[in-house]
Symmetry: C2
Subunit: 400 residues, 2 copies
Amino acid sequence: MTTEPAEPAGAGALLAILRDGRSRTRSELVQLTGLARSTVTQRLDALVEHRWIRPADDAIFSGGRPAAAFSFDPGARTVLAADLGATHARIAAMDLTARVLAERGLDLPIADGPEHVLGRLVDEFTALLAGTGRTLTEVCGVGVGLPGPVEHASGRPVNPPIMPGWDGFDVPGRLAHRLGAPVLVDNDVNIMALGEHRAAGPEVEHLLFVKVGTGIGCGIITEHRLHRGAQGSAGDIGHIQVAGAATEPCRCGNTGCLEAVAGGGALAARLRASGLDVEDGRDVVGLVRAGDPAAIQLIRQAGRDIGQILAALVNFFNPGVIAVGGDLAEAGEHLLAGVREEIYSRSLPLATQHLSIRGGALGDRAGVIGAAVMVVEDVLSPAAVDRAIRAAEGPEPTPA
Amino acid sequence: MTTEPAEPAGAGALLAILRDGRSRTRSELVQLTGLARSTVTQRLDALVEHRWIRPADDAIFSGGRPAAAFSFDPGARTVLAADLGATHARIAAMDLTARVLAERGLDLPIADGPEHVLGRLVDEFTALLAGTGRTLTEVCGVGVGLPGPVEHASGRPVNPPIMPGWDGFDVPGRLAHRLGAPVLVDNDVNIMALGEHRAAGPEVEHLLFVKVGTGIGCGIITEHRLHRGAQGSAGDIGHIQVAGAATEPCRCGNTGCLEAVAGGGALAARLRASGLDVEDGRDVVGLVRAGDPAAIQLIRQAGRDIGQILAALVNFFNPGVIAVGGDLAEAGEHLLAGVREEIYSRSLPLATQHLSIRGGALGDRAGVIGAAVMVVEDVLSPAAVDRAIRAAEGPEPTPA
């Protein structure tokens, strides 16, 4: 893959102008870009041929005859998205605005290994597409979230603790081969953050999405983009030390980690030790919903422990929104109350003044929607559009 | 001020291409941008007229006669920068690559108030410029760092604790009126982070700059840009709670804040209580340099306390570089050793694998260099260049 940047006013830059949904005439685009009319015509032709845009129905009358206008066509291409969890997956087919055309949940244990899981995913995607009347040739990209660390550039899992057989597996290669479209992979918390950021609206520039399940992780949005960090490990807050919890052993080898104190597994273990029949975080949430006082107290304290860490991160990062999701967030206000309690008592007034601390808006759809956003932003980036058009045109003739 | 975006291939976009320092002919620029030749000529004329570029000395021969080439002219404009501290300031005149042409230190107590301090600054800038043989008409922007919180958009200090009389003062307005150039203001930690990021080199995408003085603050660089956060308060790590220090009272009203435990004032107070004649953090550093065991022990522990907070931030943010500066950093390896000790024992292996933890590379010049970087990135941004050229051309004639 070439890493050539987009031309300052290539076809991709024209598409970026049209992505706001308004239709524009050739003359308007000539004026907006300063490009020669012949250049604009040539680039519009390429974009139409690649089905990113179409002649708009609303021809624009300026004086005598109607001028042809063009607009972005979000429905001409399809994006496939999958959010794989430990035992369950959600898949969806969407258009280029991440609007869901069809979706479904699957029982699909990640521990069955990549061959089986990805094979099943291809079959399910194919069936889902068929139901929408669309075909694989219309698919412009596939986004996948995995429940473990992923090297984003290669799409390969890196030492994922709950994914036996997946370490280093070429997930994009396998799926692209069968689906015939580019495949992007990231960890589930990052794609959920992208989904919740989309739901929060364009005025939210800096957002933290905190997933509280068996593990605890954070997706970081800064200036509307995902912050992955120098090694791609940003957001791994589950192993930050909680003050006053120094003796709690963690699977990472350290003690007092947030996950070992406030993760779903830790809470379940504590209730089990007191004689209750509890297997995991979901059972804890069940008890909370049934009004069990010990479970309520426990989840409130988990909220405080998470809030203690987030209070520091609020001072450091100054987000506009903190959205809390994941299995334990299903316990609702009990968890959030603990989180808020700590943040408001410990963070700086300036940083909490307009801070919104809330549950996720998308629930278990955050992952597939975020995976589609990841794909769309990549596929429609000016550099990618220019590259796709150049590739279709074939190599330039060598000058004589 | 208008917030119109840059044209996709306006004069600003041409300048962005030329900023790499290579000279290019008209034909090369036509080919690179897809713009009409007449448009390129018109834009190059405007850039030459505004002195951003100049005809290059190295005319390029392609076939018969030489083709005129153009290149970025970093020396044609001057940037003024000031880094104001509690009692002392540093000022500099630089070119458009933030190369220092002249600089000097001043005794200038910030508590003398904005009228006096800014008046003095104008006089000192004028004298400094005169020494370089340049004039105010060549100045394209002024960057100022202040030792307190600043609302970056307006350049006004916001409740600055050690700056009596400065709250809400229109710093840019006052300076721009006397210096005749746009003025950008930020807090000192942010501009030092910009300076240290410039010094760290273009391959460092994510950097934390930690200033350890009387207060403790952090400048955050993500994807080569300053992260200011939703309310502009990002990086205020001095009031994050240190585990095990819950009773130490802080000036903010909370207890156990990092600043109250490991700031220069806190260390000085502790040595004073043991009978030593110590006024502030600089005296503590003096004792450390003189080999005083109590002072060395104290500064090592301060490093551990700072490291405890940074260990959490390394997991969360995954920076490539942490640079530690400020008065206490002058104590050298004793402080850094404590910082490293905590980070390597508490942060995730993946996040520390390639992490560089080091002293600042620029010492007390980080601020002025960063202030110049802030100005240059703003003044040379494509949108700003287009705006400046439009403004000089005057209003467009209204169509008949």
